[in-house]
């Protein structure tokens, strides 16, 4: 399978002179590769086989070892699934880059990106993992700056580059600490050796892993790169980055916290839950204030990572109390949401890509009325919007329900601090659900409904056949994951049961196709009943009304305009739609509004044009990254004093270091 990706990457590079050939070769190889990935991971997940191989390298400590256990298989399945549909979409979508940018390069990095993600979630050696992690970071960096003539892309890429490497530094610290404790870089040895490690080391590992992988997962306040980097890439790559790449951070958190480190401390879980609450709430609030369709979706990824962390955090809390079956429930909720988010976020990004390709703008205010011009894209985007807003009967609702249930179980029977954090997490999850619905009413309503607000929107055409096939398949997947959630949950129990800390533990739920309930009878939901209920009720209502009003006519006429001439300028804008919610949360969001008025003359009584720019102050820039940047620059300035440029002085430095080292050796022995 990896060979297929390699062939895809190199073949695309060789064919870079011929756009069409490079596109077809690169994406077909990606389709075949991810299809193979689907089969392998599916086999590993459903049959319980654990394919593994290991090749020693000539370098010490580095071994190319891959082992697909249940957790790896699950993440590999999610990656392959999304990559499969994104590649189908790309076959047609990439065509609008012909002649503008090199298609061969795109195919090369795209295949490298998918392959490295799959290695990241299957590698069993920390150094090999880091190599794959770095390839993934670099490949995605080059995909972010793919539209290299856009300065915004370059800026986004640079920020991403810096942030991801700062994160990698923390990951290295975590691995080195584990190496010190165990004397090996193999995950299996970590697992055996970490039991003896001191609490201090474990806490240090927890914190560095949280920061290191938190950067990749986009946990606030480490998220600054995400909203600018994801939208800058081509849309099918954005779908992969937002839907799947950030999940590699989640994967490693699960791997380290629940598999490698034995036992967990209470504060770990609470810290994850607090981080999750903040990320989910702030993520959706920033999304509300965003008018760039792809940036809006990127902020929603932050929100959904927050929801996943709520499930994972509750799992860690339960695990620290020894309530392993509830911990399995929390983890199952987190994993279920991981998979669901991958499907609907990929769908939404693909839909956004089609809209952008049709209108040539990412500004949501320039859309409108696209439901008539692109009816199928609109329908698929609506499915994605409903799923991400956790509306029943789709899959997003089920995983949020499961997360809620895990959190509900935590409210009863803990000490006050833990209890309060659980209650506030429930509150923030409920609020997040409501705000996400508000945001997607905005995103869908302003984009697809009412009348076109610009000439570009009037000229939009439905997207090609292959993109629609990919989006239709993802929509079906979303509905299917909702309908068959009981069966999916049963499969997930295998994954949670394979974790070292939860080995063989039964999850605290009873999962059947008919309904899913908790063992203590606290909650029960039946997704098939919801599907049938809503569909049957709608059909009955429609039939009854049709019979009752069969003699009545339905005419069309203009929208009531109060006697004026109704223009698209009078429709509500995205800014206007979300402004009230933003004004309410001004304490956190710090909205800005700059008013510029040009006057006809010096009298300042007759304005010619007035412009109001509404935005948000970048508080992370001002309060976290700017001081950090200043500090680094200052330190660097101090360090330059050492660098005189005189070669004699450098030789003196080497000499002094040698003497110092000799003294050090002496002290040691």
């Amino acid at each position: 399978m990896l060979a297929v990706f390699a062939a895809g990457a190199l073949g695309a590079l060789l064919l870079r002179k011929h756009d069409a050939a490079a596109n077809i070769w690169g994406n077909c190889m990606a389709i075949i590769g991810s299809g193979a990935g689907l089969l392998i991971s599916g086999a590993a997940l459903f049959h319980g086989t654990v394919p593994a191989f290991s090749v020693d390298s000539s370098l010490p400590l580095l071994a190319f070892s891959i082992r697909i256990d249940q957790l790896s298989a699950f993440f590999m399945l999610v990656i392959s699934l999304v990559a499969f549909f994104c590649s189908i979409y790309a076959l047609d979508y990439v065509r609008h880059y012909y002649g503008k940018y090199s298609i061969g390069m795109l195919g090369f990095f795209y295949n490298a990106f998918i392959a490295s993600m799959i290695i990241v979630v299957t590698a069993q050696n920390a150094l090999f993992f880091l190599v794959a992690w770095e390839v993934m970071a670099l490949a995605s960096y080059f995909l972010v700056i793919y539209e290299r003539r856009e300065t915004a892309s370059i800026r986004a890429g640079s920020l991403y580059f810096i942030m991801t490497h700062a994160g990698t530094a923390f990951i290295m610290i975590a691995f080195l600490l584990m190496y010190r404790a165990t004397g090996s870089f193999e995950f299996a040895d970590f697992r055996d050796g970490m039991a003896a490690a001191s609490p201090l080391v474990k806490n240090a590992i927890f914190i560095s892993a949280l920061i290191g992988f938190g950067v990749k997962a986009g946990v606030i306040p480490l998220h600054v790169w995400l909203p600018s980097a994801h939208p800058a890439a081509p849309s099918h790559v954005s779908a992969l980055m937002s839907g799947v790449m950030i999940k590699t951070g989640i994967y490693m958190m699960v791997r380290i916290y629940l598999d490698i480190l034995p036992g967990s401390y209470l504060w770990w879980g609470l810290a994850l839950m607090i981080a999750g609450s903040i990320s989910s709430l702030l993520g959706v609030l920033y999304a509300l204030s965003e008018h760039d369709l792809k940036k809006l979706l990127a902020y929603h990824s932050i929100e959904n990572v927050g929801i996943i962390l709520l499930g994972l955090g509750s799992a860690l809390v339960f695990s620290s109390f020894g309530m392993t079956s509830l911990a399995a429930l929390g983890l199952a909720a987190a994993l279920f949401h991981t998979m669901n988010h991958a499907t609907f976020k990929a769908l939404l990004f693909l839909g956004a890509g089609s809209v952008i390709a049709a209108t040539h703008t990412r500004n949501i205010e320039k859309y409108g009325g696209l439901i008539r011009l692109m009816p199928q894209t609109a329908f698929f985007f609506l499915i994605g919007s409903m799923a991400i807003s956790a509306l029943p009967p789709l899959n997003g609702f089920f995983s949020e329900w499961l997360t809620f249930q895990a959190l509900f179980q935590g409210v009863a029977g803990f000490d006050v601090v833990t209890k309060v954090i659980f209650i506030l997490s429930i509150g923030s999850l409920a609020l997040t659900g409501g705000l996400a619905a508000a945001c997607f009413v905005k995103a869908f309503g302003i984009t697809f409904l009412a009348r076109p607000r610009s000439e570009q929107a009037e000229r939009a055409r439905e997207t090609g056949m292959l993109p629609r096939v990919a989006m239709a398949a993802l929509s079906l997947l979303i509905a299917g994951l909702g309908l068959f959630s009981g069966l999916v949950l049963r499969t997930l129990a295998k994954v949670t049961g394979s974790m070292a800390n939860l080995r063989g533990v039964e999850s605290a739920d009873v999962a059947q196709f008919k309904s899913v309930s908790l063992q203590n009878g606290f909650g029960e939901v039946s997704m098939p009943a919801l599907f049938i209920g809503i569909i049957v009720a709608s059909a009955v209502v429609a039939a009854a009304v049709a019979v009752l009003t069969r003699k009545r006519r339905t005419e069309t006429g203009p929208t009531w305009d109060c006697g004026s001439d109704l223009t698209p300028r009078m429709e509500i804008t995205a800014t206007g739609f979300s402004r009230s919610l933003i004004t309410i949360s001004r304490g956190v969001l710090r909205p800005s509004s700059d008013t510029e008025i040009e006057y006809h003359d010096a009298s300042r009584y007759f304005p010619r044009t007035g412009t109001v720019t509404m935005g948000l102050h970048d508080i992370y820039q001002t309060f976290i990254y700017k001081p950090l940047h200043d500090l680094t620059t200052m330190l660097a300035a101090q360090v330059t004093k050492v660098q005189s440029g005189n070669i004699n002085v450098y030789i003196l430095y080497i000499f002094l270091t040698l003497i110092g080292l000799l003294f050090f050796m002496d002290l040691q022995s």
Partner: protein, 311 residues
């Protein structure tokens, strides 16, 4: 399910749409009395719906299929909710869709399509109505979930029918959290059913309307469905308030006499809610829209305290 329960299930499903116009009529009638008017008959809403179903319909040429489908879907969702909540007997236990989160998110599903329909015609009013509605709905959800969760924690089940049965059987009900949760729920009730101080159900003034703004472009049968669905939602929230927080009088079996008695008690309790809402609407002013979050936040905090008191 045994065959004998089928008539009761039919009653359960049809009760909300059958009675909801009546309680809208009752509320209007009481409000009219407060305004020194005689007011229309309590059956006027039924006549209005009948009239609207017999009228031709005009749909905006800018409207898409969302606008056309939304009324059916929204009405259907209220039917599903009506079948999921305790109404007259806890013997009709719906374990499939009776979870409190299912009901809260089904309500959100209706709101989602209502707001989309508001934007769809490109009218300035509809868009603003949708924006306000989503603002209120988003902020209400926290208080609503937590207030119902208080009851769920007391009765150790999140199933609404089970909650009703358990709260009713408490020999000495843990009173304080229930009362606090009820206060929190009442605020959510007023917000979700478009009542004072959140929305004015009888205005068409662009500065104040929320719900009416979204359905402004509807006419004929679809307007009837929208209004009727809104009435259903009103009765659903009243039923939740009456049967979850004060479940006395609800039948616990499926026999004819207790169920008829329970129906009478339910009508009485619902009328009391209507009177309370009418008194409230006649005695307070509508709040400025940016003061509403304060009230909704209060609802949230009160229910957090209520959960804190559950042990």
């Amino acid at each position: 399910m045994n065959m004998a329960a089928i008539p009761y299930w039919l009653l359960q499903i049809l009760l909300i749409p059958a009675l909801s116009p009546l309680f809208i009529g009752v509320t209007r009638r009481i409000k009219a009395r407060f305004q020194n008017r005689r007011g229309a008959s309590v059956f006027q809403p039924y006549r209005d719906f009948w009239k609207l179903f017999h009228k031709d319909e005009i749909i905006s040429e800018d409207a898409s299929w969302i606008f056309r489908v939304a009324p059916y879907l929204i009405f259907a969702v209220t039917l599903v909710i009506g079948a999921s909540i305790p109404l007259v007997s806890t013997g009709l236990s719906n374990t499939l869709t009776g979870d409190l989160l299912v009901v809260v998110y089904l309500i959100a599903l209706g709101t989602f399509f209502l707001a989309l329909a508001g934007i769809d015609t490109g009218s300035a009013f509809g868009g603003f109505g949708s924006s306000r509605e989503m603002m209120v709905a988003a902020l209400t959800e926290g208080g609503l979930v937590l207030s119902l969760l208080t009851l769920a924690l007391i009765s150790k089940s999140a199933n609404l029918t089970a909650i009703s049965a358990n709260i009713g059987s408490l020999s000495f009900p843990s009173f304080t959290p229930i009362i606090l949760a009820f206060i929190s729920f009442s605020i959510a009730l007023l917000a979700e059913t478009c009542r004072y101080p959140f929305d004015n159900p009888s205005t068409h003034l662009e500065l104040t309307m929320i719900h009416e703004a979204m359905i402004l472009e509807y006419s004929g049968k679809r307007l009837a469905l929208m209004e009727w669905a809104s009435a259903n939602k009103y009765l659903i929230f009243i039923a939740l308030g009456a049967n979850l927080f004060f479940p006395r009088g609800i039948a616990d079996s499926l026999e004819l006499i207790p169920v008829i008695l329970a129906l009478a008690v339910f009508a009485g309790k619902a009328s009391l809610f209507c009177i309370a809402i009418a008194v409230l609407e006649s005695s307070i002013a509508k709040l400025r829209i940016f003061r509403l979050p304060d009230l909704l936040f209060t609802s949230f905090v009160i229910s957090v305290i209520a959960i804190g008191l559950v042990n």
